[in-house]
């Protein structure tokens, strides 16, 4: 798992209000080189939670990212190179992701986080309130 994935992942355990960011427990980090593509970075930047990326990178042993970032910095190649490295080249190979609210651990083996929930952790399903009435009218009730 790389940090762009970590930055998108959020614990969806039943009852958890804010499952982001998952805390990283490191046993092994791997580095693999990836082609540098500034367009991808610029496109993804607005969707990232920067602070979570900085903290995650530091946990993985990379402390070169600035604490704050804004879109102007995307013009700097030096910044982009560091951003690229943190986002795409660091792999959490062994370790765990920890739900910030419940402390539940999602183990990471061979680079793959196990996000499977136990039966009693599966969230109840709330209706999409805005769309529900019209959709039900048009397509029939689903539940």
């Amino acid at each position: 798992m790389r940090l762009f994935t970590h930055n998108m992942l959020s614990s969806n355990i039943k009852g958890v209000a804010n499952g982001f960011p998952l805390r990283i427990e490191v046993e092994q980090v791997l580095e693999k080189q990836v082609d540098f593509n500034p367009d991808f970075l610029k496109n993804l930047f607005p969707k990232l939670e920067w602070k979570a990326l900085v903290d995650a990178a530091r946990t993985m042993g990379y402390a070169e990212l600035p604490e704050e970032a804004d879109s102007l910095m995307l013009e700097s190649e030096e910044f982009l190179r560091k951003f690229h490295h943190a986002l795409l080249e660091l792999h959490l190979e062994e370790g765990a992701l920890v739900c910030p609210e419940t402390g539940r651990k999602f183990p990471v083996n061979k680079g793959i986080p196990n996000m499977l929930l136990h039966e009693d952790e599966v969230p109840d399903l709330a209706c999409n309130q805005v769309l529900c009435p019209t959709i039900c009218e048009r397509y029939g009730k689903v539940d």
């Binding site: 798992m1 992942l9 959020s10 614990s11 196990n114 499977l116 529900c132 397509y139 689903v142």
Partner: protein, 226 residues
Amino acid sequence: MSNRPELLAPPEIFYDDSEARKYTSSSRIIDIQAKLSERALELLALPEDGIPRLLLDIGCGSGLSGETLTENGHQWIGLDISQSMLNIALEREVEGDLLLGDMGQGIALRPGVIDGAISISAVQWLCNADKSSHEPKLRLKAFFGSLYRCLARGARAVFQVYPENIAQRELILRSAMHAGFAGGVVIDYPHRYARPLFRNLMMGFSGLMRRCSEILFVVYKVFAWL
């Protein structure tokens, strides 16, 4: 006996080490999955600006579908419930990030972050109740609801699925609509490519869903063979 894999065992059991290897070493399957994935990517209709996007591959298996995304320059996150399939994906050194997870429990991603999603030959598995706690309608709802949330505004999800019958197809589609998706059914590829693979299959379709409030039915056609 049925030769629909969905009726034989739950996916994490059906796709064990030997099935995962068999699946991924068949040149016919590799070819079919690549074609279905290319078509799905085309239907995603990403802007043609050469910018790599962050995509999701739901039920990514051993990475056959994801490879098409990589070939087209995109980064992707793959989700699958079968450790054996994911192991093969690792062995094949796919470039996507992999997650072991059950789409029927909902996708654990933040809102609005994914540029597009594909799911090739996987969602029909949600129509089965493999455990006593499984209620297909609720699992479909959790899946489509969470997918809707994690997609960026205007992003699309394209599904190629093998429903067992018309009722299943309707259930899948209705669940997607219910979650807020607009969209419709495109039927073109599966009958040409999937026929030898699932002989007892009644129908296949690729559904094209667009995240907007307008309902867009693209093409709608039912066909059958035995």
